[in-house]
């Protein structure tokens, strides 16, 4: 108790007007996105994976351009050459340089994954938003359509599409977009329906804000986190689907190369040269891992409540 005793007498005088400090906010100022960014930065794994994805994307463009080999040059002289300085990833059955082919294939797979995810995003967001915003009858009908589409085994339909249409990158993307957008539509609709009943949207209506302005200023900004997270999971699943299609022989045709084609070729020559399968396999697994971890990181940072 003695510490309290020797407090000087003059401290016992009124401390003057402290109203200024009353409303003061202790923590320094930053925005909601900034908050999410801090949480994301703390997640080391997510940051590392994001960097890896970037490096892969850049390499998949740069390597095919700068390398002296192309993805289709055949060189029957040194078929199935072991990985060497000349051919870091060796050569395949037709003597084609695997180094270029794998990077080219990764590029194609990423392109397909991104394109399919973005198209699904566009259709899904519009469908979900219109269904939620219009509400009533329109919403009911659009929901029936979704319930019917959900019943369709999407991969089977995609395979049939691939058989019916001439193979090519854009066919794969189109095929995957037939029922790929349903998930995004359901997530966006649920989020907007929830937002529509929030009090800040009611307040905006009362202030005379037009429907369009409510959508642009209130609904969309609060839905972005849901959309971004869903895209991060849609890209790897699109890459997986493409690889699957090429593996069962309905995907891209020779000499075009995607990870699926490379894995398929690698599988055919598995006994002779396992490395022809292992390198593309590692590539696709690495991409899938990185996207999953970054996706999880984004969800925990920006929308903690939304469960996977």
């Amino acid at each position: 108790m003695n510490a309290q005793m020797n407090i000087p007498q003059e401290l016992f005088t009124p401390a003057g007007d402290n109203t200024a400090k009353q409303e003061h906010i202790a923590r320094q100022h930053h925005s909601a996105f900034y908050d999410g960014w801090i949480r994301l930065r703390k997640n080391k794994a997510a940051v590392v994976c994001a960097v890896i994805i970037l490096i892969i994307a850049v390499m998949s463009i740069v390597v095919p351009m700068t390398s002296k080999y192309t993805y289709f040059d055949t060189d029957y002289a040194n078929k199935i050459a072991k990985p060497s300085a000349e051919h870091p990833f060796g050569t395949d059955l037709f003597g084609r340089d695997q180094w270029v082919r794998i990077w080219y294939g990764t590029g194609i797979s990423l392109l397909i994954g991104l394109a399919a995810a973005l198209i699904n995003l566009l259709i899904g967001v519009f469908y979900g938003a219109i269904s939620a915003i219009m509400g009533g009858k329109v919403d009911a009908i659009m929901q029936r359509i979704i319930e019917v589409l959900v019943g369709i085994p999407s991969l089977i339909i995609v395979i049939l599409f691939m058989m019916a249409l001439p193979p090519g990158i854009w066919t794969i993307i189109a095929a995957m977009s037939v029922t790929g957008w349903v998930n995004m539509a359901r997530l966006v609709r649920a989020k907007i329906l929830n937002l529509k009943s929030q009090e800040f949207v009611l307040a905006a209506q009362l202030l005379g804000t037009s429907t369009w302005k409510i959508i642009l200023r209130h609904l969309i900004p609060n839905t972005i986190s849901v959309i971004v997270i869903q895209v991060m999971f849609a890209i790897p699943s699109a890459i997986f689907t493409e690889a699957f299609l090429s593996f069962i022989g309905v995907g891209l045709s020779e000499p075009k190369a995607s990870l699926g084609v490379l894995i398929n070729n690698g599988y055919k020559a598995l006994r002779a040269a396992p490395f022809l399968l292992i390198y593309p396999a590692i590539a696709i697994i690495l991409i899938m891992i990185c996207f999953s971890i970054v996706g999880d990181g984004l969800r925990d940072a920006f929308d903690p409540r939304m469960k996977h």
Binding site: P153, A164, I284, M288, S292, K307
Partner: protein, 313 residues
């Protein structure tokens, strides 16, 4: 309850019709048909017309479709072009056995390991097991099943020779395919049950349970798992469906006479009727699974009133 199921059946019927229409049109615009092989071209004109007639391919398309739906309702999916004269239904049912076995084994392994790992991970949050499970789970959903199948076949089949590399001679032939297929259910299950359990552990009734002075084990079983296991039912549907599509590649790798392999085969051989039949089978199986999952969820979770009894005052 009956009303609910009735409504769902109607939707299923509509979906099946849409799938049938979609597949039928795709069939019609498919390049090449089973009759392009030289064998067919060598037949004279009349013989060709007669063969087409026998398969009803000479009629205008809408009529063919109407007739096809009519037969389908009677359970007749036409006959396979590849396996000449054998009805499609017979072909399909003869090949369900292996697929069912592999699928069941894959799900059982996935559930057993996935659930236990996920639950331990949640209880030891941020402990070693938690991180290990997370790594395993991410790997599980990142390794495509056909890559896993190929590698398993190469190492355990070829290199070490412990297990047969394919075909369907004995039970041991089903081990490698099941393992290849179990990665994705295992991973999805582990991640899901871990998130659900972590969520439940933060609920108020867990604090109540702790305030009753019960042991950690009892609280885990009686209060935590009881609430976090129920939602696992909801992911059973998508899990089974992923298995369906996974079996397409895995069965062709291990050349297993399953319906997955059949589908890939009939795709290569443009065997229209089998493809149509299989698509309908897959679609029906897919929707029945989802219906069973929804109904079980309603029965198991006392809070949902599918059974229709009102909240007493």
């Amino acid at each position: 309850m009956a009303k609910y199921i009735g409504k769902r059946l109607i939707y299923m019927a509509v979906t099946l019709f849409v799938v049938a229409a979609l597949t039928f049109t795709l069939m019609k615009i498919l390049p090449g048909s089973p009759f392009d092989e030289e064998r067919f071209l060598r037949l004279e004109e009349a013989k060709q017309a007669e063969a087409l007639a026998r398969y009803g391919l000479d009629k205008p398309v809408p009529i063919q479709f109407a007739r096809y739906i009519g037969n389908m309702l009677k359970g007749d999916f036409g006959i396979s072009f590849y396996y000449t004269n054998i009805p499609v239904t017979k072909v399909i049912f003869s090949r369900i056995g292996p697929s069912a076995l592999i699928g069941a084994q894959a799900i059982l392994i996935g559930l057993a390991i996935g659930l236990s790992l996920g639950i331990i991970a949640a209880c030891r949050h941020n402990g070693f097991i938690d991180n290990f499970t997370m790594v395993l789970a991410v790997l599980g959903i990142s390794v495509p099943n056909f890559v896993a199948a190929a590698l398993l076949q190469y190492y355990f089949g070829l290199k070490l020779g412990w297990l047969p590399i394919g075909f369907w001679k004995s039970w041991s032939c089903s081990v490698l395919p099941s393992v290849a297929l179990c990665f994705s259910p295992l991973a999805t299950c582990a991640r899901f049950i871990r998130t659900e359990t972590l969520d439940v552990l933060q609920q108020d009734y867990i604090v109540t349970a702790r305030s009753k002075g019960m042991t950690q084990a009892r609280m885990l079983i009686k209060h935590t798992l009881r609430n976090s296991i129920i939602p696992v039912i909801t992911i059973m549907g998508p899990m089974v469906v992923n298995l369906l599509t996974g079996s397409l590649a895995v069965e062709s790798i291990f050349s297993i006479p399953g319906i997955g392999g059949l589908f890939t085969e009939s795709v290569k051989n443009n065997d229209y009727n089998v493809i149509m039949g299989l698509t309908m089978f897959y679609s029906l199986f897919y929707m029945v699974t989802i219906l069973i999952v929804d109904v079980t969820y309603g029965l198991v979770d006392p809070r949902i009133h599918i059974a229709g009894e009102e909240a007493a005052e």
